[in-house]
């Protein structure tokens, strides 16, 4: 049987500081690791409902995002999609259509993958800034390790690239690379 298809989806608005942490991390993973064939990384940004197609094509989705639950800024969080309720201010409702709704659509289509959400409590998600705040930047490495563990648990594998860039430091600016993610369907 073919290994299950894993989608690692970083979402958020990179113009709102910590709100973009999921995107920052996915870009970091793209730059630093080679993944097994069944793993797809995606900078989901603020694409909203346009994420429905890649989500519905996956068997398992690992979402990386800022999660506001009132913990200390930088606290790494993990939950299953079923834990999500409207009580959790997922994305602070900034996106035009949030992930919870997109997952609901996938369910209606009968194509909802299993889903885990990992992220961090943000410190600042006010406009404007493409840099993560210090407590969040400081814990990006921890979040990276957690995501890699989740990928492995789901049946994916990876290798550190020979010339992998340095891990996150304190001042993490959003980087535009040559490859802008794979979100063409």
């Amino acid at each position: 049987m073919a290994p299950q298809k894993i989608l690692v989806l970083g979402v958020g608005n990179v113009l709102l500081k910590d709100e973009g942490l999921g995107v920052h991390l996915v870009r970091r993973l793209e730059a630093a690791y080679d993944f097994s064939e069944n793993v797809r990384l995606m900078d989901g940004g603020t694409l909203g409902l346009r994420l429905l197609d890649p989500i519905a094509q996956a068997d398992h989705v690992i979402v990386i995002d800022a999660v506001q639950r009132g913990a200390d800024p930088g606290t790494v969080q993990k939950m299953s999609a079923d834990d999500l309720s409207k009580k959790v201010t997922f994305k602070n409702s900034i996106h035009q259509l949030d992930l919870v709704e997109t997952l609901a659509y996938a369910e209606v289509l009968g194509q909802r993958p299993t889903c885990v959400i990992v992220g961090m409590e943000p410190l600042d998600i006010e406009p404007w800034g493409i840099t993560l705040t210090p407590p969040v930047a400081a814990n990006m490495k921890e979040l990276e390790v957690l995501v890699l563990e989740e990928i492995q648990k789901a049946g994916g594998s990876w290798r550190l690239k020979a010339h992998a860039p340095q891990p996150f430091g304190e001042a993490t600016d959003y980087v535009f690379g040559d490859s802008c993610g794979n979100h063409r369907d």
Partner: protein
């Protein structure tokens, strides 16, 4: 004996361009370019409020609509003496950049590619080999053997049904097609992929312009999309831009290099002599000093000497056009007086006037911009051009050609796209500082003159206005297509496309794909059908071209 071929209309979107050539011994020996549609916007604008001009002028076209809107507001900005706020300048640049990305992708794939790509040959391709070739040059998605097999199956269904649809009646199997079947298959797959991408790229205009075509957010003195300067909308623009650049870097540029590699002989066909660029993308209120793409003129292909541009040296001739008189006027004093209609290549044969700079015909557009920037040592352009020349193993002289024109278009797409990132971030920085100003008030003067010089996907675009009693007394547009596709001038010098066609090989007059290659490389933005007339037998060959 010389044979005459008429291709009318020639292009793939809008009609009304007629090309007539004389062929002897398998080569074009003379050419005439005629525009068979009268525009008349100048006449419509007389007596109107100058603030409304941009809404009329962007109706000059249904494809590059924004560019005429922008040329017009800049022209009236100039006349009323207003300097637009920084944010307005950035938004206008971003919308113009989006226009370039959209336009050039559409041109390369949907208006030009089938002059070089034989879609029917793609049916013979081995999808596994095609996948390997594609993966060797680019990390583009959808390039596995099964992807190419699926595209091939779709193409085959088209062909077997006898209904080629948009690929009907091409010159398939013509000996001038040089690509191996696998490369034809890759290009055909990307032709389809580009259809999807261009629709998404066009959405960038919707973010800050409300709609595409015919944007709504310009105004003399700035822009009106103030409410859209919020994180959601800016981020949406950013994502559409990123997605487009992904396509440019992973699909468009690799395809250009792959296809060009098989057509290096076109590096010595279809060239012209003189080049004019107005420059574009102001980086501050100072023009032309701050323009990202510089303004300049090159004569006799001398890249070592780029002249400054003096707008007073621009004239429009009508001796071979269907207008009253036979003089030449600067557009600031220009006239539009339609008079004749009889097509006679020895006398008057076009609705286009013949613009000249210092009396010379000038090619405008991607090649002119790239050459002027290259000649002036513009760093990103030098790097990109040298990279492409090295990759293809061709000398710098090969730029003066149909191949050079097509390559220049791809090169500037990447350069402009990359520059847009900086403009988005400048906008973010301004907003961060609390600078949300998008409009500068002004007073409409009793009388004034203004000029707006833009460089747009197809080339140098100028609008000129004269205001009297707060109304438009005179308005003239000198558009890229008139520079490139205009007729002979009072001194009987051929226009650029007429010049470029001379020497073009024509293997089979009934299937003049070589003529299409050179004419389409100028992006004439017209057409869907071709008629070829054989004057000996007076037989008319009709071809539908895609």
């Amino acid at each position: 004996m010389a044979e005459r071929i008429v291709v009318d209309p020639i292009t793939r979107i809008e009609g009304h361009l007629r090309i007539e050539v004389e062929v002897a011994n398998g080569k074009v020996t003379n050419a005439w370019s005629s525009s068979t549609l009268f525009r008349g916007l100048e006449i419509i604008l007389k007596g109107r409020d100058p603030r409304d001009a941009w809404l009329f002028t962007q109706r000059a076209c249904g494809v590059c609509t924004y560019v005429h809107g922008l040329a017009s507001v800049r022209c009236v900005d100039d006349a009323v003496g207003v300097t637009v706020p920084d944010n307005a300048r950035l938004i206008r640049n971003l919308l113009m950049g989006a226009q370039f990305l959209h336009d050039h992708i559409v041109h390369f794939y949907h208006l030009h590619a089938l002059d070089w790509v034989d879609v029917v040959s793609a049916l013979q391709a081995d999808p596994v080999k095609a996948s390997k070739i594609a993966n060797d040059v680019s990390p583009a998605p959808k390039s596995g053997p099964s992807d190419f097999k699926a595209v091939q199956a779709r193409l085959k269904k088209f062909v077997d049904s006898g209904q080629l649809g948009l690929f009907a009646n091409g010159y398939w199997g013509h000996p001038a097609y040089k690509l191996p079947p696998e490369v034809n298959l890759i290009a055909a797959a990307h032709y389809l992929e580009a259809l999807r991408q261009q629709a998404r790229t066009a959405r960038m205009h919707a973010v800050f312009g409300a709609k595409n075509p015919h944007l709504q957010s310009l105004v003399v003195g700035g822009v009106t999309c103030a409410a859209d300067l919020n994180p959601d909308r800016v981020s949406e623009f950013l994502y559409l831009w990123k997605e487009t650049m992904d396509f440019v870097n992973n699909v468009y540029i690799p395809d250009l290099l792959a296809v060009a590699g098989f057509y290096k002989d076109w590096g010595s066909i279809g060239g012209t002599t003189n080049f004019l660029a107005y420059g574009e993308f102001p980086q501050s209120a100072k023009e032309p000093e701050s323009l990202f793409f510089p303004r300049g003129a090159i004569f006799k292909r001398n890249l070592g000497k780029v002249d400054a541009v003096d707008p007073a040296k621009i004239t429009e001739h009508v001796k071979h056009s269907w207008y009253e008189g036979d003089g030449a006027l600067n557009p600031a004093q220009g006239e539009t007086k339609p008079m004749f209609t009889k097509l006679d290549t020895a006398d008057r044969y076009s609705w286009m006037k013949a613009p000249r700079y210092n009396g010379e015909p000038m090619e405008v557009g991607p090649l002119a911009r790239v050459l002027v920037a290259y000649g002036k040592g513009h760093e990103p352009t030098k790097k990109a051009v040298d990279g492409v020349l090295k990759h293809l193993g061709i000398p710098v002289e090969a730029l003066f050609s149909t191949l050079g024109r097509t390559a220049a278009r791809a090169i500037e797409t990447k350069i402009i796209g990359e520059a847009m990132e900086g403009w988005i971030m400048q906008l973010v920085e301004n907003l961060k500082k609390g600078d949300t100003k998008t409009f500068e008030p002004y007073e409409m003067p009793e009388s004034a003159q203004g000029m707006g010089l833009n460089d747009v996907p197809r080339g140098a675009l100028g609008h000129w206005i004269e205001i009297k009693g707060k109304k438009i007394a005179n308005y003239q547009l000198v558009v890229p297509s008139t520079w490139n596709l205009g007729p002979r001038c009072a001194a009987n010098k051929p226009g650029p496309v007429e010049e470029a066609l001379i020497g073009t090989p024509v293997a089979d007059p009934k299937r003049p794909v070589e003529i299409l290659r050179t004419v389409h490389s100028f992006d004439p933005c017209i057409a869907c059908g071709v008629h070829v007339i054989d004057p000996q037998s007076n037989q008319v060959y009709k071809f539908k071209v895609v």
